[in-house]
């Protein structure tokens, strides 16, 4: 892997995640390797073994145990990190709820991979989209640079809001593809992300137990606070993204707009395939069709207000999903419909499902689908599936 020294390196997304964890000075890593996130776990294990990273690496026998160990470590006030994919994330499911309910600022890098069966190691976003109700903040990255930057931001976000954060990158498209990444100087990283001072933690001097049995009414109170914190997180995520931009020259928001002013149709998308969609948009713009793009970077908390502002004046949304809620349709499309319901100028919302299990998605496919949406030839009640073997 590339060194930790500051400057531009051509590195893979997994490497960017490792560097970010090191720059964040994580104190405990508990992880179980799974393709395509294994290199993150292996590299961090090496760094700990070589003494290059002053962190405790806890080898475990499953992802369930990995998250359990992260929860324990985080409760003692340690900055905690883990990485996983697909089945591994699914195995963590029970404890994802616990980490959020326990208000623990754990950062998890999920390298998106489709769920089996049929068995596959390739990319889609069903693994993390299906964890959207666990109370985790979820960030979806487009580039390896964004992976690095988002992990540093994730700790800033989580440690203030006291909710865990999942940073997602597409398996192989980002995890195993090398691209130029600007690695910040460690002092700069420290300035952006100081040490964590927990508001509560396990302390033998002040014995106590967290998350014990609670009566029904207080339970609801705790859960209401969780919802409130998610709402508050929106502003803080934006603030942290801006601050990051001021310090490093790369600002981030909850959503990102591309060629959207003015646009009659917006493609709504997330993850690495955004780059392909940008090209399709450019080509259609060249032909005089007023098309733009909206990238959802943060899925939870869902940026309802930003999305509502961005679509004012837009006639049509084409939501392209790399995840499906079976029996309903594209997951992101549902999020958009839900966020825009009751909008005074509710656009047409069409849904496309593509690229499941790593199925190729080309610029031509996206262009063709945009044109179908432009001509309102799509069924607004049903997702259009494209790509695959046809």
């Amino acid at each position: 892997m590339a060194g930790l020294e500051a400057g531009a390196h051509v590195i893979e997304g997994n490497t960017a995640a490792v560097i970010a964890a090191a720059l964040a000075r994580v104190q405990v890593i508990a992880a179980y390797p799974i393709t395509p996130s294994s290199p993150i776990v292996e590299s961090l294990s090496d760094l700990c073994a070589q003494g290059k990273l002053q962190a405790r690496f806890i080898p475990v026998e499953s992802e369930h145990s990995a998250m359990a160990a992260c929860i324990g470590a985080s409760m003692t006030g340690c900055r905690t990190f883990t990485a996983t994919s697909s089945q591994g994330l699914a195995l963590m499911h029970e404890l994802l709820h616990w980490a959020a309910g326990g208000r623990l600022p754990i950062v998890l890098v999920n390298v998106n991979r489709a769920l089996a069966p049929p068995w596959t190691i390739f990319c889609d976003q069903s693994d993390s989209f299906s964890q959207r109700d666990t109370g985790w903040i979820q960030i979806y990255c487009e580039t390896a640079q964004e992976v690095l930057d988002s992990i540093l931001q994730a700790y800033r976000i989580s440690e203030k809001i006291l909710l865990p954060c999942m940073v997602n990158m597409d398996g192989f498209y980002l995890s195993h593809t090398a691209e130029p990444v600007e690695v910040p100087d460690i002092e700069e990283a420290d300035r952006f992300l100081p040490g964590w001072e927990p508001r509560f933690q396990l302390d033998v001097a002040v014995p106590g137990a967290f998350g014990g049995g609670t009566a029904p009414a207080p339970y609801m109170e705790f859960r209401h606070q969780l919802q409130n914190s998610m709402e508050q997180a929106k502003d803080w995520i934006a603030e942290v993204g801006n601050e990051f931009g001021r310090q490093f020259g790369r600002p981030y928001g909850l959503i990102e707009l591309y060629r959207a002013e003015p646009a009659t149709l917006l493609v709504v998308i997330s993850g690495s395939v955004t780059g392909t969609a940008r090209e399709a948009v450019d080509r259609l713009r060249d032909r005089g069709i007023p098309v733009g793009l909206l990238r959802v970077r943060v899925l939870r908390p869902f940026p309802t207000e930003e999305v509502r502002r961005a679509v004012s004046g837009v006639e049509t949304l084409l939501v392209l999903d790399r995840a499906v809620s079976y029996g309903q349709g594209g997951t992101l499309a549902q999020e958009l419909k839900s966020a825009l319901y009751g909008h005074h100028r509710m656009p047409h919302i069409f849904s496309g499902v593509m690229g499941l299990g790593g199925a190729p998605v080309s610029r031509e496919m996206i262009e063709e689908t945009i044109l179908m949406a432009w001509e309102k030839k799509l069924d607004s009640c049903r997702s259009l599936w494209f790509g695959g073997t046809k």
């Binding site: 509560f200 967290f210 049995g213 109170e221 705790f222 209401h224 606070q225």
Partner: protein, 565 residues
Amino acid sequence: MTSGIESAQNPPLIALSTGTMDWNRTGTWRTLKPIFQTFTPSCELGCPTGGEMREIAGLLASEHLREAWEILMVNNPLPAVCGRVCNHPCEEACTRKELEEPVSLRGIERYLGDQALKNNWQLLRPTRLWPEHVAIIGSGPAGLACAFHLCRLGYGVTIFEARKAPGGLLHYGIPEYRLPRDILAGEISHILSLGIELQLQKSLGRDLRMQDLQGFGAIFLATGLNRSRRLHIPGESLPGILSGLEFLDSVNSNHRPHPGKHVVVIGGGNTAIDAARSALRLGARTQVVYRRTRKEMPAIREEVDAAKSEGVEFTFLTAPVAIEQAEATEDGRPLLRLHCRRTRFGTAEAGSRPQVFSIPCSDFFIDGITSIIAAVGEEPNLEDLDLRRLRGNVGKLMLSADQESMIPNLFVGGDLASGAETVVSALASGKQVAWAIHRRLRDQNEKIRTETPWSGKINSFYFPTVPRSINVSLSLRQRESSFAEVDQGFSHESAVQESRRCLSCGLCTRCEICWVFCPDRAVEKEKDVYRIDYEHCKGCGICAVECPRGVITLVEEHVSVSRES
């Protein structure tokens, strides 16, 4: 945003309990209940005398040697003897076998017995509590044990011994290389020093009649088996053929016999092996002929091993058919020729040894034999004791469960009652009869200790393997012509190290495992014991599963709910 929920002022973000959960009486959830029990360990159950080896090993492990010896003496007055010659059923039962090898309990016993002799440790002379005097006929292990226990119970005791020295089979049957005379004499004299009278050369039927014993409150007959079984084959009475007991008697009487250059021993018991190893030491090529195989030999395993390593030859699955006198002579004595036949096993019935059949036309001969020693078992000789009337109609001794005969207050024990067994079973028989006599004379329902046998379940996770300590043996060359003791016993360090291998089965050692594992903090450590807080124990059973020594048992709640304290 609007909300139907009114938040408290500065609510915590997460439920935080700073108090305890004691208010939550999780004990009411319980359907199974763990209980602590002290069980009788398998070694103690295996020992006929009920030797408390677990407690003894525990005391030795913490270097409380004298206390360990005193507990040893409660059940067995001859530890230095037993520690040498016992067939150690305790070790056969030892749980440590599941891990690697049993604890060398016999070695520990011997070490403590030797320490007592070396340091002249004495038990307190018991106070005479009762007017009765008990007569004991025979000073073998059964008679000595009975005398010891009766004396400690407060009775007067007189032992009548037919021979010139006490000890019975221990003296006349077991060779010195296994049991040095000074060790035997030392332990016997300690027993006698407690206030027991010994009359030597008083043989019942010869020097003593039953009428002479009428003044005694009770009589214990323990004369052992002193008549060798015959081979019942032609030529059995030729010169040069003698019984195992006769041969060992002369070996042990300090006028060493001269069995010649080639000795054949017939049999597979301890007498046969003792005879063979003795003959070897007297310069003979020695051969053991046995009709079964090594596995079926009743002799103590280690003794057979030692015989083999010393050079005794074994011919298995072979039965003697006849003995003939050869024409050749050696040192003026005619040589013998043993006519043998191969044998095979029949099918075994459940729980019994398979029958042995001879194979027709498989005959062969062993030539050039100078002596044949027939060691095929011993039997009682009640005729000489003038006690034919103790036999019932079927010709067997008729005894009550307390080993009392048809003549009131006449008890019979040891090998005489049970047939050829072991030293430890004779010691156990003597102990049992002592208590039976006590109950008979005092007419009390003396409490017999009840045992709660241990389940045999250890949690082997907690016990790393530790190899069994090795005791020092005399070199093979040193054994060739010497009757010096072969087994040199444990050093202090090995004895203590060996005692630490004891797992303390069925006994709570306050190891804390249950306390550590209990998810309800329901194990309470009190000064000497652990207690379960049943208000909070919800019966999950983790303690019972984890307990290294199996002292925690889960019982159905309704069975024992009334016993709850």
